[in-house]
């Protein structure tokens, strides 16, 4: 997958500061010969803040992202953040089903000096891209890792309506990916329960309660670590464990888990940035 295939990467605002996400994505993609070219001059997608303060006109910022990518020659967008993923796919759907909203959004982009190109594109999650190359990951796990029980955590926005990429309540993509890498996926019930998202900033007690339920549910099924696919999920799942004083469960990005399976040296995976060190691996 390269730029010439029309794939462009939309990192989103949380990507750079996420605990070893960028490091591990770079390491894994280079080993799988995937080149991720960033959307030139990308902007914040507005996330739920956009919709909360502007209703359906919250599509403006994500539409601008897609217009900029189209201008650069993108045929498809790839992102590694559930928030961006849902926002972009929702925007695309809303624009395709509402001509008036489409016209207004396009006009506003032009008025603000944005590019005169289609503000909608197909959007994929990085997990979909790596899953589709599952076979290329094949490498025997070292004996100390092969028994590891990994809890796949999808968070709330990956498979819910607007994205329609997997079963909304019982998604399987990450579980199968983890299994393909040689780890043991853990069957627990809160795979798509909400981590509290941005509410963690203002309503910490309420959202920590949500994380506690999720972490305990993983631990009840003897998980050794959690694999996540979104920077905000990672931060919330990790930080709440520390402030609540829960028995600790490391929370890794799925690309860090993939890197371990591919034999990437741990230093290259940014594991030292995790707040909860993965002692067992």
């Amino acid at each position: 997958m390269t730029m010439s295939d029309g794939f462009y990467f939309y990192p989103g605002c949380s990507y750079e500061t996420a605990a070893g996400y960028k490091e591990s994505v770079d390491a894994v993609c280079s080993r799988l010969d995937i080149r991720l070219e960033e959307v030139p001059g990308w902007n914040c997608c507005g996330s739920t803040a956009g919709f909360s303060l502007q209703g359906d006109y919250g599509v403006y910022h994500p539409a601008l992202v897609m217009a900029r990518a189209s201008r650069a020659g993108a045929k498809e967008l790839v992102t590694g953040c559930n928030g961006c993923f849902n926002t972009l796919r929702k925007t695309r759907k809303l624009l395709l089903q509402d001509q008036d909203l489409y016209a207004r959004t396009r006009d506003k982009i032009l008025q603000e000096g944005g590019p005169d190109s289609a503000p909608q594109l197909p959007v994929r999650h990085l997990l979909q891209v790596l899953s589709s190359r599952g076979k290329m990951h094949k490498s025997p796990l070292s004996p100390d890792m092969s028994g590891l029980r990994v809890a796949a955590y999808y968070g709330c926005l990956f498979s819910r309506p607007w994205t329609d990429v997997d079963d909304p309540e019982h998604p399987q993509m990450l579980d199968r990916y983890i299994e393909g890498l040689g780890f043991t996926p853990v069957n627990y019930s809160l795979k798509t329960a909400c981590c509290g998202a941005a509410h963690a900033l203002a309503y910490r007690e309420q959202t920590e309660m949500l994380v506690e339920r999720i972490i305990r549910s993983m631990q009840d099924k003897q998980a050794d670590l959690a694999a996540v696919i979104c920077p905000l999920c990672q931060l919330n799942l990790e930080s709440a464990q520390l402030s609540l004083g829960l028995p600790r469960l490391p929370v890794l990005f799925f690309t860090q888990v993939a890197g371990l399976a591919l034999g990437v040296p741990k230093k290259e995976l940014g594991l030292d940035k995790l707040l909860i060190e993965p002692g067992k691996i």
């Binding site: 605002c13 990308w42 996330s47 919709f51 819910r160 909400c194 910490r204 309420q206």
Partner: protein, 167 residues
């Protein structure tokens, strides 16, 4: 029925205007299909923290009690996890209903006092518009200036993130 907000300030005509404008929108039209089964409130991770909960919001909307809904904490507590939308037998986009109500509450100065999410969202969008992108640490710092009492509990996390070069 006991209402949470005894100090009404909106004239009935004003409520009717708001109600009409709500039901003309995309989300409003969908609310007409609600069968009050309560699956939304049963699925909501934060229903226990809400004053009304989503089912009651939809009910009050159809009965025209716009002010009670617009002043509620419920419309701001929704985290947009879409669990309600996933399970709603009528496919009502409940989070989108909350968004429309948020916009309306802010426009008419009815957003419930002391509730902090508007500050988070406004800080987020302002930064996005000014800088194109949003930095979480700058967002947290801006929020901290508005709500200093929330900050002591956050300090240890900030230090931990700093130590691991995540800020």
């Amino acid at each position: 029925m006991r209402f949470l907000h005894s100090h009404k300030t909106l004239e009935p005509e004003h409520q009717e205007t708001l109600s009409r404008s709500f039901f003309q929108g995309r989300a409003g039209k969908e609310v007409q299909h609600c069968i009050q089964c309560g699956t939304c409130s049963g699925s909501c991770p934060l229903a226990g923290e809400m004053d009304l909960g989503p089912r009651r919001v939809l009910d009050l909307l159809r009965d025209g009690f716009m002010e009670d809904v617009l002043r509620s904490r419920t419309i701001w507590l929704c985290v947009s996890c879409n669990a309600c939308l996933t399970r709603c037998p009528r496919g009502i986009p409940v989070p989108d209903v909350m968004y429309v109500l948020r916009v309306m509450a802010l426009e008419h100065g009815l957003a419930c006092r002391g509730y902090k999410m508007p500050d988070v969202y406004q800080g987020f969008l302002r930064q996005g518009e000014k800088r194109g992108r949003v930095s979480e640490s700058r967002l947290a710092a801006g929020y901290g200036l508005l709500h200093p009492s929330d900050m002591p509990g956050r300090l240890s996390l900030a230090l931990r993130l700093l130590r691991r070069r995540r800020i």
